[in-house]
């Protein structure tokens, strides 16, 4: 009985999502521990996929408290960060491993 409940509790974590993704895929590139561009316009009010590419030879972590995201970007790879729907406004993000240089802002319009 108890094990059944445990299993049920763990299964709660599985389930269907209903993604309607925007066609737009904004791109960010990390180079020399900086984001390019450092200010990027993204669509407000829709879900979208932000592609983050790391052209450095060390790992970076794309992180944003305001977007509630934290994701490792291994060297030489491009990874998707699913975002939105965002309210209009500015959202800061940074590279956790090189915070003194890797800083940027998403502008949701």
């Amino acid at each position: 009985m108890r094990n059944l409940m445990l299993a049920a509790a763990c299964l709660l974590l599985a389930g269907p999502a209903g993604p309607v993704l925007a066609e737009d895929q904004p791109h960010l590139t990390i180079k020399n521990h900086r984001f390019q561009p450092e200010r990027l316009e993204v669509p407000a009010g829709v879900k979208f996929k932000l592609m983050v590419k790391n052209e450095d030879d060390t790992a970076e972590e794309f992180e944003s408290f305001e977007l509630n995201r934290e994701k490792i970007v291994p060297p030489g790879q491009e990874i998707p960060v699913f975002l939105g729907p965002l309210d209009k406004g500015e959202y800061k993000f940074f590279g956790d491993f090189h915070q003194d240089t890797a800083q940027g802002v998403l502008i949701a319009k």
Binding site: M1, R2, M5, L6, A9, C10, L12, L13, G15, P16, A17, G18, P19, L21, K47, D57, T58, A59, E60, E61, F65, E66, N68, R69, K71, I72, V73, P74, P75, G76, Q77, I79, P80, V81, F82, G84, P85, L86, D96, F97, Q99, D100
Partner: protein
């Protein structure tokens, strides 16, 4: 140096606080040190492996391998914590009674220790892989003065270990008859926080619906990026901008664990009624030799 100190401090603290709770929750059980140390060792090894294969992991499952992997190990930890709390509901009182009667560690509950060791391993693996990637990056980029940065890392590690130790000592200062009540609540909150994070990760990988990307913003009270914020994040799963699904998983886990503990406690009183025929011990409670 300060940057690396802060990063390592934050990551190690998040794992260290969990280790501190686990150590307090298993107070008085013989052999727990070995199990917890084993959990830490497996976690460090796992962290190095995850860091080494970070590229493959990130590229897996169309780019959301990281989220799915982390959510899976967090869910495993949640199940282990739930199991532990169920076990404690059955045996906690007896454990406390034995400890105060004998005044030393008692041999009980190896299975419960295994569950806690898994939790420790998951916590260390999760935070540790980031530390490994970060320090590796420093070692590669020699121009930044790697020794200084590494020194920062070591100091960060030591400070985080110290704070975790202080939490542990603080918990042990709680009188024995209340200790396990407190640690059970801490573990329930810890499990709820982990379940919430797992759900948030799956939502951020677009596998679960987010049910609102952020329900509220309490960053004006406690910011995620502050030290208190990250300590609360590790301990009770605090997030200044939680998503709907994160809150739902949090609430469901907390309710589920409370119900489970009640059920198990009821099972305990039933079992006690049945096994009234063992008066030989000086300890006025029935003893259960294995932790099943």
């Amino acid at each position: 140096m300060l940057a690396s100190l802060l990063i390592v401090f934050r990551e190690v603290l998040e794992a260290g606080l969990i280790v501190g709770i686990v150590l307090a929750a298993s107070a008085g059980v013989r052999g727990r040190g070995t199990w917890v140390a084993g959990g830490i060792a497996v976690g460090v090894l796992g962290a190095a492996l995850v860091a080494a294969f970070a590229g493959a992991l990130a590229g897996a499952l169309e780019g959301v391998g990281q989220e799915v992997f982390t959510a899976a190990i967090l869910s495993l930890a949640v199940c282990m914590l739930a199991w532990h709390n169920g076990w404690m509901a059955k045996h906690g009182r007896e454990l406390a009674a034995k400890m105060s009667a004998v005044g030393e560690a008692v041999k009980l509950g190896q299975k419960s220790l295994l569950a806690l060791a898994v939790v420790v391993a998951v916590a260390v693996l999760r935070e540790g892989s980031e530390v490994v990637l970060f320090l590796y990056g420093i070692a590669v980029a020699a121009k930044d003065g790697p020794l200084q940065l590494l020194a920062g890392g070591v100091i960060g590690l030591a400070l985080a270990a110290l704070v975790s130790y202080l939490l542990y000592r603080g918990l042990l200062a709680i009188p024995l008859r209340h200790l396990f009540t407190v640690t059970n609540w801490l573990i329930a909150l810890l499990a709820a926080g982990m379940a919430g994070q797992a759900a948030a990760l799956l939502a951020s990988a677009d596998i679960l619906p987010s049910w609102g990307p952020h329900l509220w913003d309490s960053s004006f009270i406690l910011r995620d990026e502050s030290w208190a914020g990250s300590a609360m994040h590790a301990l009770v799963g605090y997030s200044a901008r939680p998503s709907g699904v994160q809150l739902a998983a949090y609430g469901a886990t907390l309710l589920g664990l409370t119900a489970l503990t009640r059920l198990a406690a009821r099972g305990r009183s039933a079992a006690r009624g049945r096994s009234a025929e063992r008066p030989a011990s000086a300890v006025p409670v029935p003893s259960v030799p294995d932790g099943s």
